[in-house]
Symmetry: C2
Subunit: 143 residues, 2 copies
């Protein structure tokens, strides 16, 4: 790829909701975005996607726990800094504690925290809005 091609600005191609959730499910971590003390906050976490919802784990005392019951955003991306190609997906929805013990135990099996600690709270983000974009070299459609 020539330098000229690399530097050429990319177009943003909107992805379908299904494609966006597929991409999100294909990566192991993302970033949960929430408000804390009226300030924007963000934390990287690992996740699994379960029937179109996003499952994360956290622990008592974590900032993320203050987002339970609130609308949060969840973002994942895979953008190559050299080719400047890739995608980003943003999900917005309510973060809910998984109280069902069987469900929680199941998620604890498939979703191992990357970071030390008990991580005994399972949170499900139920998407209300899913947006995904692909950085593309395709020419802009002519209007």
């Amino acid at each position: 790829m020539s330098g000229a091609t690399q530097d050429e600005p990319r177009g943003l191609v909107r992805l379908s909701e299904a494609k966006s959730l597929d991409l999100l499910a294909g990566v192991p971590f993302g970033r949960v975005v929430f408000s804390r003390d009226a300030l924007p906050a963000i934390r990287p976490v690992n996740h699994v996607v379960d029937r179109g919802t996003i499952i994360i784990r956290t622990h008592l005392g974590a900032a993320v726990l203050s987002a339970v019951g609130m609308v949060v955003a969840y973002e994942a991306d895979a953008i190559d800094p050299v080719s400047r190609l890739g995608w980003s997906v943003i999900v917005v929805g309510v973060a809910k504690r998984v109280f069902d013990l069987d469900d929680a135990a199941g998620f604890e099996e498939v979703l191992r925290p990357w970071v030390r600690g008990s991580m005994d709270h399972v949170i499900r983000i139920v998407p209300e809005m899913v947006t995904g974009f692909e950085l593309s070299t395709a020419p802009e459609p002519q209007g």
Copy 2:
């Protein structure tokens, strides 16, 4: 690296503010986090670091522009999904328009948008709080 080592939860080692800003300056893009219509919002953007502040570009009509004058968060990370090692840096501070034409022109030279569009607004995020963590395999300090 054995599977057992890879799966072992990582410790989080706090990084200094200076080290955190160095890491942020060493990557070309991150994610700006803000509130929009009282909902958490996040957008990936490319950036440069200028004298300890973060410079991004956007355009009229972009959601990010609604964050000018507000406290925003800016996050960058480099986490390897296989080794589960890496770092994340989060900056919180006020987003300000760069109105000085010379300054703005200078940033337009060094910060080329990756995405098509005029991107004629230069925004500076002035850090009030910088936090950085490294995912480490080192054993937890004994208390």
